[in-house]
Symmetry: D2
Subunit: 283 residues, 4 copies
């Protein structure tokens, strides 16, 4: 009458750095890796039987060992290799490998000195289940701002509405985005990543925004139009609100110039833009 | 050919404190509230049409205003009231209201002085969609430890396995748990919360653990057996690893006495224990 | 013409857990230890000469090894033992050992199961230099609130002042406090700690507050009056502002009932209350 | 017999954004401002007399109002203006204004779209007391790494030393640095900042490191040699340790290639490099 429902387990926050010194500049792979498995693990819960439980310590070891051979081209390729390693084990039905890449850039023309590029984290997710392989790439923690050409008006007003309509506000958000690649397509993960990122930034810069929602659509649509390998893109955009400070008590004007930036509370918009034949394809 | 996929939006991190001074001691409600709506909002994305977009600023105002009337008995009742308010608006199909309660306790016998009880946060989620109402209660951030009677052995060994089997390790985790109440059942949310929490702690203290997985089952099963109103419980348990320090280079013995506590990397076990007729009931 | 100025170095964030199983309940020491040394280390900077540089890795090892013998009574005694170990090394002139104790309490009557008590962290600092030994004990991260009997009025008003005077506000703060013990006095560190903490909480609860500043004085003075071994106490108190929400646009009254809690920006009051003969004594 | 010791108070975490739209690209000033005053405030503690206590809310208002006129050239100039405003008030003897600048860069050639540059935060501190004005500029949170040409050897070995000597390790740290400008010298704060930062990075990249201590000296000395307006520089450098992973159990070699990055525990080196006549000058 009482049973196990869905369950998965794995190892998170594996901090792995690989340094390749045979290039100029040296190459730094600075990753945080998380592995999660699902499968026929009910016995480990119900009976305390660990005979099919790959120790999460073994997962950690595997991540380091597999980096030696497979972390050479892209974090997507590495995530796929790690995922396949685990998906082939007994009782495992699905393996998710999520990789965050912390980016470093050489200092000037130095071969061996680097500064961390903190504007965003590049992410990759390889999801392997049975015969299927899905790959997602993503941006995490990239703050962007439009200082003009952003409006928010025409929204309904009820008893609890006090927000004024505006045709010129500051729009800022910290981007968390993931896009899914077409299954089985041959993809140059690094070149495609750079191209999608460029489209994201260009479109964000170029468009006039009627709302965060409208911006998601415009940016997402552009990415799908320009990058055939991208099947869908999901974004989670917290509003980093900038409120105009009332300086009138001090006899000062403030025509959209001095703002207070706040993080609590914040609007949060989460949405996916996708090809409309995506569901059909997957069947 | 390009279309909107799933989407939702709302307001997060609404910090709301209500103080009731007509009791001894005073009563403090210290909450962080998040609201998320889904519904027919595609036009706001595709056309920049905000005519159905309840401003997230309005959501914030509503959370404060509704607290005045509805934040009197439990955070579950408040979450339900806020959720119903939004679920009844045009174009809204579902409303999720998530409440975190930061707990304060009186200092001694004081009527008006309090210290924050930081051992965990109580949470509630009201999920309203069409005619359905689901309520979940939860524990967040409660660190627990077993100093003995915890083992991990019998796991498979492969090329990458170096972990030793142990019949006596320290088990520690930071509990994140949510349990779902039976739909439509009359529930005293505060009394039931206290009772479920007590069962959680008692069972955690009493059992011998063969693994984190086995502990989830034992604790979850006890909660379902003792609390008829609980339909299922989900836990997300990061291992707070405690590794024995090798003191032999210093000529010292260390028989499970001195440990280093680490957070990176950590095992992460996520699982649901449920009544086996749950799916059937929901149809 | 260019020279070294003040400098110190050490190891921070040493996570050390000791478990003693010969008592009921078991005893958990869960510490974060930081060690900092100063002395004649200029050569290590100017000449890259490491011959006097105790490796910070050695400091970490020492912290674990010394825990075996010395972490038995109080974190103060342990900090003193670690400090003395380093202060006796060549070229070391001063050693600071700072210990944070994360507190656990048994679950019910359990011997071996614990829940972390998150209301505050106990701290100790042993500062050893030449023949001197100073010991400080402290409270970190303890949030306290007065729901009434707190005022703030009579402050000067200038062109930039908009704050209204109030005779009944919510006062809340996250306490960071450290008190210094009389040099050379025989002190029961655990009993004294509990007594000082009790005086802090009692006095905080009992007094009427004219400002955070006035509260610091009242609480600090009580501690010095009641605890002869305490020479001085320093507090750093961020205001956790609670602002009354304006509900009048919604036709609702709000007589000090519904508040928004904020952390940015916050007032910050830092002050020391001390015996007036303290400076003289130290000469 | 009990008295007030040192004390100061102020407002922290004032989030202030100014946007200037009369340039291409627009100019974003994104600041976190903290103000702290000391002076004759003992009465506010001992007597609850607020008649000289500038409300911290007034400080916040002043920061916004003064930004309108004074936040036009550099954060140093703004900090000085805010500091002078408060230092001239009755009973104030010293004013510290600390400013963190969160940096944004235009997206491509866009006039009004920006991405946050997260590699580091620029800081400024204006310290005003009586007739004196001290200005410090700083770098916060800049992670840098040397992938080779970093050693650590020749350190003393005692009973607790297990660290191996190395002539080729990875050195990484998160830089927190502040340099002090010559009093009264006319300084172009932005140009000097960029020049000091360039020297920091160039010297870090160029030198061979015998230890973090030696690196501090080499970098600090270069900055003082090349920038006459800099009187001293203080650095706080946590070691971001990178430990070679033992892959031998898996039959793999690891010749300084695969590392685990850790943050707990970490070495912490804090030191000042200064002109040797600095103390004399200040008299």
């Amino acid at each position: 009458m009482i049973d196990m429902g869905s369950n998965r387990y794995g190892k998170s926050a594996i901090r792995l750095v690989r340094i390749q010194r045979d290039t100029t500049p040296h190459r730094i792979w600075d990753l945080t890796v998380s592995i999660a498995l699902d499968g026929e693990f009910a016995a480990s819960y119900r009976d305390g039987d660990n005979s099919d439980v790959i120790a999460t310590d073994t997962m950690k070891n595997s991540a380091y060992a597999l980096a030696k051979e497979h972390l050479t081209t892209s974090i997507e390729d590495y995530a796929i290799a790690v995922g396949r390693h685990f998906a082939s084990q007994p009782k495992v039905q699905g393996a998710d490998v999520f990789v965050e890449q912390h980016r470093w850039q050489p200092i000037g023309t130095s071969r061996d000195a680097f500064v961390r590029e903190g504007s965003f984290t590049r992410t990759a997710l390889a999801r392997i289940g049975g015969d299927s392989l899905d790959v997602q790439a993503g941006i995490d923690g990239m703050s962007v701002m439009k200082t003009t050409r952003s409006a928010f008006a025409g929204f309904p007003r009820d008893r609890y509405t006090t927000l004024k309509e505006t045709d010129d506000r500051v729009m800022a958000t910290k981007v968390s985005a993931r896009w899914e690649y077409e299954r089985g397509a041959p993809i140059d993960f690094n070149a495609t990543y750079d191209a999608v990122l460029a489209t994201f930034l260009d479109t964000f810069a170029d468009h006039d925004s009627a709302s965060v929602q409208a911006s998601i659509w415009i940016v997402g649509k552009a990415i799908l139009e320009r990058h055939a390998a991208v099947e869908s893109i999901s974004m989670s955009l917290p509003n980093l609100h900038h409120w105009t400070v009332d300086l009138s008590p001090f006899g000062l004007e403030n025509d959209r110039e001095i703002y207070v930036a706040t993080t609590e509370p914040h609007g949060l918009i989460e949405a996916t833009v996708r090809r409309s034949d995506l569901a059909a394809k997957r069947l």
